[in-house]
């Protein structure tokens, strides 16, 4: 009797569990069948009437029934919870193809970008970055660089003078002289000097009265023209691309001897000749050479070092 009753209860309960569609309903089932006042407890209460042999059997069966119901309720509860979460998430769906919230971000001026790139390249090779004033004395801008007032090479520079002795610097080279005057002649010198320079040019597509230059100076024992060539080759490949070649041509600057102009193979046509390189395959980007040892500001450098040193004046970044 009791056995049948228990199995009946189990059947009934499992049907209700299966039918439950909400957590609340499920909970009602739990309370109804497994609660202290539920029918299973009631059945167990009548166990006293049973024989000693039957009692444990019914007891075990009652536990199995409770367990079976509890397991199903738990399973059902998980299923209902998952369904509830899914239903909620379904309502939260967004259109992921809509654009994101923009973050304000700025950027460097292209000129600064190039300058920083070059600075970093040379810092990696043991250089420091030297800077100087943009308004210069005639002495540092010209005389210290072997360009006395009557020098014909001054024809090449049309300058913005403020007084007879003060002008907007026409190149970054005065920084070399200023740096060397401070140098105590101890150890090698490796500097690059970036900066703004000014010349009396009418502004057009390829000219500007204000532009950016960068130049370098190395003074050390056993430095040669081949080191200048090698250094510039590294520079050209880093700044203009690994496929670039450089070409040195003899030239003239009043403070270097020998002097060179440096061309880089044209990036546009790869050297075949195009309108950018005026059909030559080469683009002139800078000038350099070996600093004349007679310059006054090299006075602090010991003679043995002076007799073999190098400088290069890069001149390739019009603004």
């Amino acid at each position: 009797m009791m056995q049948e009753r228990l199995l009946e209860l189990q059947e009934e309960a499992l049907q209700k569990v299966a039918a439950a569609s909400e957590l609340k309903e499920l909970n009602e089932v739990r309370v109804a069948y497994l609660g202290k006042k539920g029918p299973i407890t009631e059945v167990l209460r009548g166990m006293g009437k049973l024989s000693a042999e039957e009692r444990p059997k019914i007891g075990a069966l009652a536990n199995d029934v409770r367990e079976a119901i509890a397991t199903k309720i738990e399973e059902k509860q998980k299923a209902l919870e998952t369904a509830a979460v899914n239903a909620k998430l379904a309502t939260e769906t967004i259109d992921v193809t809509l654009p994101g919230r923009p973050v304000n971000k700025g950027n460097l001026h292209p000129l600064t970008r190039v300058v920083e790139e070059i600075e970093d390249l040379f810092i990696g090779m043991g250089y420091t970055v030297a800077e100087g004033p943009e308004v210069e004395s005639d002495y540092y801008n010209f005389e210290a660089l072997n360009l006395p007032k009557s020098h014909p090479a001054r024809d090449m520079q049309d300058s913005f003078y403020i007084t007879d002795e003060i002008l907007m610097r026409t190149h970054t080279s005065p920084v070399q002289a200023r740096t060397m005057e401070k140098h105590k002649g101890q150890g090698p010198v490796k500097i690059i000097c970036p900066g703004k320079v000014y010349r009396r040019d009418n502004d057009d597509a390829t000219h500007s009265h204000q532009f950016q230059q960068i130049e370098g100076l190395v003074i050390d024992e056993n430095i040669s023209m081949s080191d200048l060539k090698g250094t510039l080759d590294v520079f050209a490949k880093k700044v203009f691309g690994q496929d670039r070649e450089i070409r040195l041509r003899p030239s003239f600057f009043p403070f270097t001897e020998p002097s060179v102009e440096v061309d880089i193979s044209c990036k546009i046509c790869g050297g075949k000749g195009c309108s950018v390189c005026k059909q030559t395959g080469w683009i002139e980007v800078l000038g350099g050479g070996i600093v004349r040892t007679s310059l006054k500001w090299l006075a602090s450098i010991p003679r043995n070092i002076l007799d073999s040193h190098l400088e290069s004046a890069w001149n390739g970044l019009p603004c």
Partner: protein, 804 residues
Amino acid sequence: MFVSYKWLQDYVDLSGINATELADKITKSGIEVERVEKKSEGLKGVVIGHVLEREQHPNADKLNKCQVDIGAENPVQIICGAPNVDKGQKVAVATVGAVLPGNFKIKKAKLRGEESHGMICSLQELGFESKLVSKDYATGIFVFPNDVEVGRDALEELGLSDEVLELGLTPNRSDALSMLGVAYEVGAILGREVKWPVVEKEEAAEKATDYISVKVEAKEDNPIYMAKIIKDVKIGPSPLWMQTRLMSAGIRPHNNVVDITNYILLEYGQPLHAFDYDRFGSKEIVIRRAKDAEKIVTLDEAERTLTPDHLVITNGSEPVAIAGVMGGADSEVKNDTTNIILESAYFAGTVVRKASKDHGLRSEASARFEKGVDPARVREAGERAAQLIAQYAGGTVLQGAAEVDGLTMEPAVISITLEKINTLLGTSMTVSVVESIFKRLQFGVELDNETFTISVPTRRGDITIEADLVEEAARLYGYDNIPATLPIGSATPGQLTDYQIKRRKARRTLEGAGLYQAVTYSLTSQEKASQFALEARESIRLAMPMSEERSQLRLSIVPQLLEVVKYNNARQIDSLALYEIGSVFFKRDEQELPEEKEHIAGAITGLWESHLWQGEKKPVDFFVAKGVIEALFDTLGLADQISYRQAEINDMHPGRTAEVLLNGEVIGFIGQVHPTVQKDLDIKETYIFELSLKALAEAEVAPIAYQTIPRYPSTTRDIALVVDQATKAGDIQDIIEEAGGKLLKEVSIFDLYEGDRMEEGKKSIAYSLKYFDPERTLTDEDITKAHDKVLEAVKEKAGAELRG
């Protein structure tokens, strides 16, 4: 310098090398060939014609009907409008089918009813620049000498089949300002001989010194002066070949004597001058500095006032030429001139330069004197010119010359070792390679073991020191042959200075905050130079500005940034955030360099946030801009040292501007551009700042201290304070921070209310105060004690009342 490929062959054998190849070789070894011009490019079908008949065109006053023999079976009829065309002339005829410059094709035509089979050409029509055409033919057709053969290629006769190399000479290579100089260079490059012109003296028994004497008073300025006399010349046109050579070099032909002096100038690089002997005014040449206010009328018929800075040639009493620059009109060689004084001299560069600059007269001659002519060629150039004058203008060269020669010019002698050359260049040239280079240059070479002793000819005045010889060796050895290596020496630390690091940090921070870097001009107008200036100091003006727009050095960056805003606003770009780091310039004493300071400036306008599909838009305001500079100060570790003070600054919004102080010193400002200025500039509401980067970068920064993550809880108490409208939130915050003691860790404002529910003239500010002790959990009592002090302080010092 223009170099005719054909003319150059008079001095160097160029067989096997065309003009383009030659140009490439010259460029690679040191003189840049800027252009190779083929003069006849795009021209064809122009022949020499003989005008057999000329008559008036029956229907047109200004046209001529000509019958012209062009070497074909029958003469052709050509209608010609040139005023100077005439029977018997040899002329250039563009035949039917010919092509002239500008792809102008000649076709058979009918002009006012008369057939025309071609065109008789002027030199301009054949592509010559007007300034090169002899004045005789300036307005008409060119007439050839009678001995040219009919039917021949006129382009060939005019030297147009030649190619011209345009050399871009650096100032040191004035030796290449002559055909012979270029010949030496080409000879050295190719390893070929240089052939000099042969000067055959044919002189009369009469002596030049019987006709003229020379006295040099200014010996420094004029160490060599030679005057030759040529009698009985006949002025006329120079030979066609000479004229075409002059034109190819950019010089206009005049007459035989003048052309010859110019020809020698081009050939030897030695400027010459011819005076009319009969109009010279005396038999004495005196060279001296001009007297003050002395006057001369030069060849161009301008009266010029001289000073003692100028060197003049005189006839003993009056100037007849400005030495090396221009001759006088009185003694000019004219068509009736018969006797000539030919001057060949060495004038110092400085004195010629001064005169040419003062009088605005730059000529082929002055340019060469300025750069220094070869003293060794002065005499020979004069002799050769005299010989050519005799040959092409008739006349007799008198014996010798009246001369002064006070210049002893020894060739420079420089010694250098092979090792030195190789060390400096990083090469491994052998003795024989280097020796052959110097020999090809025609330098004197003495070799002792591995030491070269080089005698440098006077034509190469640019070579004075060892380094110059190294350069000669390098350029003729070829820079392509120098290896590429990297320096091997003791290592040096490559690094930025603290200042440079901070500048980069500033850039990164501002970019991260959304600002784009601008680079604007340092030169600006007077008005803009000092607008928004942080320090009211005088701006600096250029002595000779190119325009008023760019006449002053800026004292502030902001005006230029506002220009950028304006430019963008005018192009429908309304939202813009910019910064610039650059120098501004403050005037000091006239003799001193200005004080240069690096500033950092910004301009922000338009929308700061715009998220269109969500409908959110946030325009830029004062606090957006302030947030940006706060981030900057924070990055630089200076947040604690910065404060703000309401300020009134010209051209700024009076209620929305603050000075920025670093430890109490004003180092910048921030705020809104004054609405009237915005309106004048036609820009939208714009917030700007300008700070001294120098001050920021040089300020001392406290070391960064590590803080643990708190182990004990903190407690937050919020208060809302009612204060007067004018009371500054920052001041209250200072009071709170001071009163809160060490337990008060953070104060932040979380609400500001100024609405209707407030009493007139009052506002409410809500602060959130966070109390914390790293060592323990604070008790309610601890906090209340501290908090009460805060409340008391704000009440007392700011008149604040707690809002209920």
